[in-house]
C-alpha cells in the first residue's frame, strides 16, 4: 500500500511527517534537517530548485527565486498591490485575476510554485521510505495543513497545489487544530485549550474543548496576513528606509537576511548588530536593543490580541476559563509574543514541542486516522468565516454562520422575477460584514435549466455544502418539477478545474500517457472501494435479518449481480467501462448504505442509553 503523509506547507518552511508504529515523526533529510524552506528558484537553463539550495539563491538570483508564496494563495493581483514592492521577484497578473509570479522568462501561479515545494517533500518522504526498506515507497496521498482562517479560495488553491504535485490531498486540516492533536497524544487531556499560532505569514487562534478523544473546535479567528514576514518588513524599513525601493534586488535580500538574523538573536539576547556589507555604500551596521525591537513590533503583537478576544467571545468563554495555552509557529519564540499571550490568558503557555514541527506531526496523526479508520481520536473543526449570498440592495444574507462545525450545510430558496425565466444569477460570499462590497467574493454562478413558469412560481432550492476540508460545493434542485439544476461555479479568485488540468498536461513531468495511466489507477481504486464496502455490508453477521426487515425482495440478488459484473471488468484497461459499473454499483447499493448507516446510528445511541438506564 502506498504511503500517506502529513504535510505542513508553511510560508517560510515546510515539513513532512509520518506515523510509524503509532508514533508521529518528522522526516528529515540526510543531514538531519527537518525543514524545507518554501523557496523555489529557476536556473538559467530552466531547471527548478527547491529548499535550502533555492534559499541560497535568494542572494545571488533574487529575481529568479520565489519565497513566502503562501501569502499569494487564492489572491487576486489587486489584493497584493501594497506588499508587492517588498518582493524582489516579479508579481504580475491583472485586477482581480489570479496572481502570477515571474521567475526569469516564465510565469507561475502560486499553486504551481507551492506544488514544487510539495513535490520536494513527496520526494524526501519517498527517499526515506525506500531507505527504510519499504517495498512500496510511493507517496501519492497527503493531509496538508492550512491556517485556520484561510478562506475557501485559499483552501482550494492549496488543494490544487497538491493535485499539480501529483498528491491526492485527502484532507485539508487547520494548523492550530493539527497542533492540538500532536499535543493531545502524550497525556489524556481533558479541558479547554487555546492554540496561539503565529507563523511566518499568518496568525490563528483556535479555542478547543478536548474530551473523550474528541478535539472539538469551539471558535477560531485570525489574520491570514500577519506573521514573522511583517516583522522582517518593519525591521527592513527601519534599517534602510526608502532606499529599499532603489537598491538592487540582491541588496534587498542581503538586508532581509541580516534583519532575520537580528530578530533571531534578540529572542536570546538583549542586544545585537544588524550588519549588511555587500552592495551597500557605506555598508550598514546598526546596533539594536531588545527594547527597541519590542517597541517596533508592539503593534504587530497587539494585532493578534483582538482575534484572541473575539474567538473567546464566540466560544462564550473568559480568558481565565482556558485550561492550557499552546504556542505554535516560529514567531512564538519572540519573548514579547510569549509575554503578551501569558498576560491575556493569565497563565504560562506550553511550548514543549518544537513550534516548527508540531503542525506537521499533527497532520501525520490525522493522515493515520484517515488511513486506519481509528475512531479513538476525532477532530471536529469549524468554518472560520460566515458564508452568504448576495440579496437585493447589495446586502449579504448569511446561510452558514462562522464557527459552525464542519461538515455543515445550508439551503436557500430562489425563484424567478419574470415569466419563463430559466436562469438565476447567484453570488456567494464569505465574511462577517453586512454589505456585499465588504466581504470576500467566493464565486458567481448561474442556475440554469429552470423549467419555464410564471414569475415567482419556480422553487429552486440551492444547497450549500461545506465539507470537512472547509471547501464549498453547491447543488440545486427545482422542487416543483424535481429537476436537478446544473451549477457551474466560477471561482472569483483561483483556478478553474480546466486550468488545473491544463497545468498538469503542460508540466513536463506529466506526459499524456502518465495521466491516462493515473486516471485508470484512480478509476480502479474507486471501483475497489465500492466493491470492498459492498462485500463488507453483505458479510455482516446479521445480514439475513437486515435483509428481511429493511431490503426489498430481490435487492440483494441485484446487488450481487452488479457486484460480480464490476469485479469482472475491474482488471480491464477500459476506464469508461470501469467507471460505468462503479457508478452502477454505487447506485444499486445506495439504499443498502443508508440502511447500514441507520443501523450504526441506532447502535451508537443504544450503547449510550444502556449506561443511562
Amino acid at each position: 500500500m502506498s504511503k500517506v503523509v502529513g504535510i505542513d506547507l508553511g510560508t517560510t518552511n515546510s515539513l513532512v511527517a509520518y506515523v510509524k508504529d503509532r508514533v508521529p515523526i518528522v522526516i528529515r533529510d540526510a543531514d538531519g534537517d527537518a525543514l524545507v524552506p518554501s523557496v523555489v528558484s529557476l536556473t538559467d537553463d530552466g531547471a527548478v530548485i527547491v529548499g535550502r539550495e533555492a534559499e541560497r539563491r535568494l542572494l545571488t538570483q533574487p529575481g529568479r527565486t520565489a519565497y513566502s508564496v503562501k501569502r499569494f494563495m487564492g489572491k487576486g493581483r489587486a489584493d497584493v498591490q501594497d506588499e508587492a514592492r517588498h518582493f524582489p521577484f516579479r508579481i504580475g497578473g491583472e485586477g482581480d485575476a489570479v496572481v502570477k509570479i515571474g521567475l526569469g522568462d516564465r510565469e507561475f501561479t502560486p499553486p504551481e510554485i507551492s506544488a514544487f515545494v510539495l513535490r520536494e517533500l513527496k520526494q524526501r518522504a519517498e527517499n526515506w521510505f525506500a531507505a527504510q526498506g519499504e517495498v512500496d515507497f510511493e507517496v501519492d496521498r497527503a493531509v496538508v495543513t492550512v491556517p485556520a482562517y484561510f478562506n475557501d479560495a485559499q483552501r482550494t488553491a492549496t488543494r490544487d497545489a497538491g493535485r499539480i504535485a501529483g498528491l491526492d490531498v485527502m484532507r485539508i486540516v487547520n494548523e492550530p487544530t493539527a497542533a492540538s492533536l500532536a499535543y493531545g497524544l502524550d497525556n489524556r487531556h481533558t479541558g479547554l485549550i487555546a492554540v496561539y499560532d503565529l507563523g511566518g505569514g499568518t496568525f490563528d487562534i483556535s479555542i478547543l474543548r478536548v474530551e473523550d478523544g474528541v478535539f472539538q473546535v469551539l471558535a477560531t479567528n485570525g489574520d491570514t496576513h500577519l506573521g514573522g514576514d511583517d516583522i522582517d518588513v518593519l525591521l527592513m524599513d527601519s534599517v534602510v528606509g526608502a532606499d529599499l525601493r532603489v537598491g538592487p534586488p540582491e541588496a534587498l535580500q542581503e538586508v532581509r537576511r541580516a534583519v532575520i538574523r537580528a530578530k533571531w538573536d534578540l529572542s536570546e539576547r538583549d542586544e545585537t548588530e544588524i550588519k549588511v556589507a555587500q552592495d551597500f555604500s557605506p555598508a550598514i551596521q546598526r546596533h539594536i536593543t531588545r527594547a527597541e525591537f519590542e517597541s517596533l513590533i508592539q503593534p504587530i503583537v497587539d494585532r493578534t490580541l483582538g482575534p484572541c478576544r473575539q474567538a473567546l467571545a464566540d466560544a462564550g468563554l473568559q480568558p481565565s476559563q482556558i485550561d492550557e495555552v499552546v504556542l505554535v509557529g516560529g514567531s512564538t519564540r519572540i519573548p514579547l509574543v510569549r509575554k503578551a499571550v501569558a498576560e491575556l490568558f493569565g497563565r504560562t503557555p506550553h511550548s514543549e514541542l518544537n513550534p516548527d514541527e508540531v503542525v506537521a506531526l499533527g497532520a501525520s496523526v490525522q493522515a493515520d486516522i484517515l488511513v486506519t479508520g481509528n475512531r479513538d481520536l476525532l477532530l471536529l473543526d469549524v468554518t472560520p468565516l460566515s458564508l452568504g449570498i448576495e440579496t437585493m440592495g447589495g446586502i449579504v444574507s448569511k446561510i452558514i454562520v462562522r464557527n459552525s462545525t464542519i461538515p455543515a450545510s445550508g439551503a436557500e430558496m430562489f425563484t424567478t422575477a419574470v415569466d419563463n425565466q430559466t436562469a438565476v444569477d447567484i453570488h456567494v460570499l464569505q465574511g462577517e460584514r453586512e454589505l456585499v462590497a465588504d466581504n470576500r467574493s467566493l464565486a458567481r454562478f448561474k442556475l440554469r435549466g429552470i423549467p419555464p413558469m410564471p414569475a415567482g412560481l419556480p422553487r429552486v432550492q440551492v444547497q450549500f455544502q461545506i465539507d470537512a476540508n472547509g471547501i464549498l460545493s453547491v447543488t440545486a434542485r427545482e422542487l416543483r418539477t424535481d429537476v436537478e439544476q446544473t451549477v457551474e461555479v466560477k471561482p472569483s479568485y483561483g483556478l478553474t478545474d480546466e486550468e488545473v488540468e491544463r497545468i498538469l498536461l503542460d508540466s513536463f513531468e506529466h506526459a499524456e500517457e502518465d495521466i491516462a495511466a493515473r486516471l485508470l489507477v484512480e478509476a480502479r481504486n474507486d471501483a475497489e472501494a465500492v466493491i470492498a464496502a459492498t462485500e463488507k455490508s453483505l458479510r455482516v453477521p446479521d445480514f439475513a435479518e437486515i435483509e428481511r426487515e429493511a431490503l426489498q425482495s430481490g435487492e440483494r440478488q441485484k446487488i450481487e449481480g452488479v457486484l460480480s459484473a464490476l469485479k469482472m471488468v475491474i482488471t480491464s484497461s477500459d476506464r469508461d467501462t470501469i467507471l460505468k459499473w462503479t457508478q452502477a454499483l454505487n447506485n444499486t447499493t445506495q439504499h443498502l448504505a443508508e440502511v447500514m448507516m441507520n443501523r450504526s446510528v441506532r447502535a451508537a445511541l443504544a450503547g449510550k442509553n444502556v449506561g443511562d438506564l
Binding site: V214, L378, L380, S409, A532, T589
Partner: protein
C-alpha cells in the same frame, strides 16, 4: 424523514441535559464523520457528509435553549420561518416600555446634538436600559417555566405562549442593541 430531536434519540422536550447531549453528539460523530469513510463507496461518502452535516446542525440548534424553543415551534408548525419577521411590530405587552424608551432615546439624541457632555448622556442611556433588561430577565424566567410546562403536559396552548415570549424576546434584544448603538455613538 426525521427531526433533530429524534435524530439524537431525544424526546421532543425542552429541558435537555447538556452533558447527555454532548455524549450523544460525540457518539454519533464517531459513527458518521467523513474521516471514517475515506475508503468507502461514493454512496457511503455522500451519506456520511449529509448525515454529519445534519448532526452538526442538530447539535448546534438543540444546545442553545432559545434556538431549541424556536426549532420546536417550527417543528410544531407554530412559527413560520425563523421568527425574525415577527420582530417588526411592537408586541402589545411591550408597548409601554417601548414608548418610554423611544422618548428617552430621542431626548438623548437631541441633547447630544446640542453638545451635552458624553458621560451624562451615557448615564441616561444606561438608565434607559435598566427597565428593558428587567423585562428581559422576567422573560427568561417565563420561558423556563413555560418550557417545564410543555415537557410535563405537551399542551399546545403552552406552545402559543412560548411563541409570544420568543417574539417579544427578539424585540427586546433589538431594543437593547439599539441602546448599545446609542451608547457607543
Amino acid at each position: 424523514m426525521t427531526d433533530f430531536f429524534s435524530f439524537l434519540g431525544l424526546p421532543r422536550k425542552l429541558n435537555i441535559d447538556a452533558a447527555d447531549l454532548e455524549q450523544r453528539y460525540r457518539a454519533l460523530s464517531r459513527q458518521l464523520h467523513p474521516d471514517y469513510f475515506q475508503n468507502a463507496s461514493a454512496a457511503e461518502r455522500r451519506l456520511s457528509l449529509e448525515r454529519s452535516s445534519y448532526l452538526n446542525d442538530a447539535y448546534r440548534t438543540l444546545k442553545n435553549p432559545i434556538s431549541r424553543i424556536e426549532y420546536l415551534l417550527k417543528l410544531e408548525h407554530m412559527m413560520e420561518r425563523d421568527g425574525r419577521n415577527g420582530s417588526q411590530k411592537v408586541p402589545p405587552a411591550l408597548l409601554e416600555e417601548v414608548f418610554v424608551l423611544n422618548e428617552e432615546l430621542d431626548e438623548i439624541r437631541d441633547a447630544r446634538a446640542s453638545g451635552a457632555p458624553a458621560d451624562r448622556l451615557r448615564a441616561r442611556a444606561e438608565g434607559a436600559r435598566k427597565p428593558i433588561e428587567a423585562k428581559r430577565d422576567a422573560h427568561e424566567r417565563d420561558l423556563k417555566d413555560l418550557a417545564a410546562r410543555w415537557d410535563a403536559t405537551g399542551d399546545r396552548e403552552v406552545l402559543g405562549a412560548l411563541r409570544e415570549r420568543i417574539l417579544e424576546r427578539n424585540y427586546i434584544n433589538n431594543l437593547l442593541a439599539g441602546i448599545e448603538r446609542e451608547l457607543t455613538a
